[in-house]
Symmetry: C2
Subunit: 358 residues, 2 copies
């Protein structure tokens, strides 16, 4: 809320922030980023500036709510993420959770804590990134809180969306006979991070490879695209069962579906798509690209299951919508867990481990 | 979300947290705090455990959304707040923003970041406090995120409520001829904080006065009561215009209404209620109790304006409901701002300043 931004900055703020008049500060962060007309068209009656925001929801719909937090040195460092990307990705990660329910994101609240000595331009860049992502998906930022912290930055984004009542896609809905799909290539974000960390640059400097394929990996890490259209298409189809977003790597997400649904999942190695740039990078650093895919995180593609007989039809619908759908495995009832059907024909268990932050 | 709690704790967590199995940890924090039956009765279809929560809203209602963040050493220290109180107050502050719109709080999402070396029992106590407050007002905690931080604790609570469409009470709605009211005594929280800070106890120790009147001040600081019933009564009456919660002191909140509504507000010194325990404490520390009231914060009473002719009737309704309503001033059109009509008869401007955190 505006009140909070004023109050907390004004009194919690130190030298660097105090030169900014409180209203000037709010204006810089939020003004003109989403016009009143756009906000109204998107259902906002009262946005930033009162104790709470007031907004409309579509009738016959349920609320879908999530929040996602990123902390400095844990989820990002200045050598792995540019400030604008930090904002973009914080919003994208929360929006992705809404996509993973087959729902439509509508409103967001943003809470940022940062040290008193922080450079206001950094905060402005983060807000620019937040709005860039929000605007791309017509998510209205209706409130938030900006506070000082003793050390380090924390960004927490809550996104509120809606889904037709009873139609949310839960991770517990996988059924025997389903196929397992993903909506895009995985592992690129983790490879981009791997590249940036290997540069060992001083804090604040930014790694450039000069190679377009590496830049695409870095882009995947800093600017992931939440798969909202794919989620909505899957939800409206009526044939999708379980759905999850890949925030912690394919292994971890497949395990979550398997455990929540009480089923087994077999992933077929040869069917898992591998981006060319990931393949090239993995060769360069002498790693198995599958490691990035299974145990890397933050790609924010969707993984789910659907009735096998509808899979090809759905793939065509995805193609027609300019989206991708890869069938990478199937659900079995043998036991609860995840296995990999290797190219050699061997079937090996996949460990239930996920993304390891710094 | 459960996934996040697992993922982040498991991989971001250090020695102290790692002894806890991931599921055990989630269970400790959230299990049995709000039963499935209670959640369902309160509109939750899918709570903690999927990418996002799914819940119902009342038809014909608008969403009301807010978020409030507290950071360690800025909004609380171990000598000013017990862990359970930190959780209670974090929830109360966000719920109070919903009350200040005349709305009903329904769902909450909690984001906590804490250092890897944090004592898990501290986090559990904070969660207990969060649930204690949430349960008291039937707010369902449907999600959140638990992450590590490099230093210090940050708690961000988002609350989602609802209000009959078009009926939210905005701070911009004060009108000429309105009276100004508050729903309870102010300044006690700031006095309680003042007492605790004066003890100069080592970190982790807790001040006890042995005097019940001081304990009431400490209670006001650690366990504020959001005024939901009062807000709903004001909203349903149809005669209340502007409404705000007193989080930053009476002066700051009155200024917010005055500026948002483009009016002047005169507060009458003799009509501002002063709690006996505040009066006694102020005498003891040789301070003016009005300083705590005007410039202290975090009482979470409501301040608002309503049509003068309905004020007495509303006071009787409040009394019948076991609530308080003090008429402390009036709206004028002379200029935008806030003045104090002193006991002496002098009218002096009130500074537009608010609560000063440590």
């Amino acid at each position: 809320m505006e009140r909070d931004i004023i109050g907390r900055i004004r009194f919690g703020g130190g030298v660097k922030l105090s030169f900014l008049d409180e209203f000037e500060w709010i204006k810089r962060l939020t003004k003109d980023k989403q016009s009143i007309a756009v906000q109204q068209a998107c259902g906002v009656q009262t946005g930033i500036g009162d104790d709470a925001a007031v907004a409309y929801m579509s009738s016959g719909h349920q609320l879908v709510m999530t929040c996602d937090t990123m902390t400095e040195e844990i989820h990002f460092k200045s050598i792995t993420m540019r400030d604008k990307d930090i904002g973009y990705k914080a919003m994208a990660a929360a929006v992705s959770d809404i996509a993973a329910m087959g729902a439509m994101p509508r409103y967001a609240l943003v809470s940022i804590s940062f040290p008193r000595h922080a450079d206001p331009l950094r905060i402005e860049a983060i807000y620019e990134g937040l709005y860039e992502c929000a605007n791309r998906w017509s998510v209205m930022i209706v409130g938030g809180d900006t506070t000082s912290s003793v050390n380090g930055m924390t960004i927490s984004v809550t996104v509120i969306g809606e889904v037709q009542a009873g139609k949310a896609l839960l991770r517990s809905a996988a059924k025997h006979g389903d196929i397992v799909f993903v909506t895009g290539e995985l592992g690129c974000s983790a490879a981009g991070l791997d590249f940036l960390l290997r540069q060992e640059l001083p804090s604040g400097q930014w790694g450039h490879s000069g190679k377009p394929e590496i830049e695409r990996l870095i882009q995947a890490h800093g600017r992931p695209d939440p798969q909202i259209e794919a989620g909505l298409l899957l939800q409206s189809s009526g044939v999708c069962h379980a759905l999850n977003d890949v925030s912690d790597g394919l292994a971890s997400e497949a395990w979550e579906i398997a455990e929540a649904s009480g089923v087994g999942i077999d992933l077929i190695e040869d069917r898992i798509p591998i981006a060319e740039e990931l393949m090239a990078y993995a060769q360069e650093v002498e790693k198995d690209p599958l490691d990035f895919i299974l145990y890397g995180g933050e790609d924010y593609q969707l993984i789910g299951t659907m009735q096998a007989e509808h899979a090809v039809d759905m793939q065509m619908k995805f193609r027609a919508a300019g989206l991708q759908l890869y069938i990478i495995g199937y659900v079995n009832m043998e036991s609860v867990g995840v296995r990999l059907v290797q190219s050699s024909g061997y079937v090996v268990p996949i460990e239930k481990k996920g993304y390891n932050h710094f």
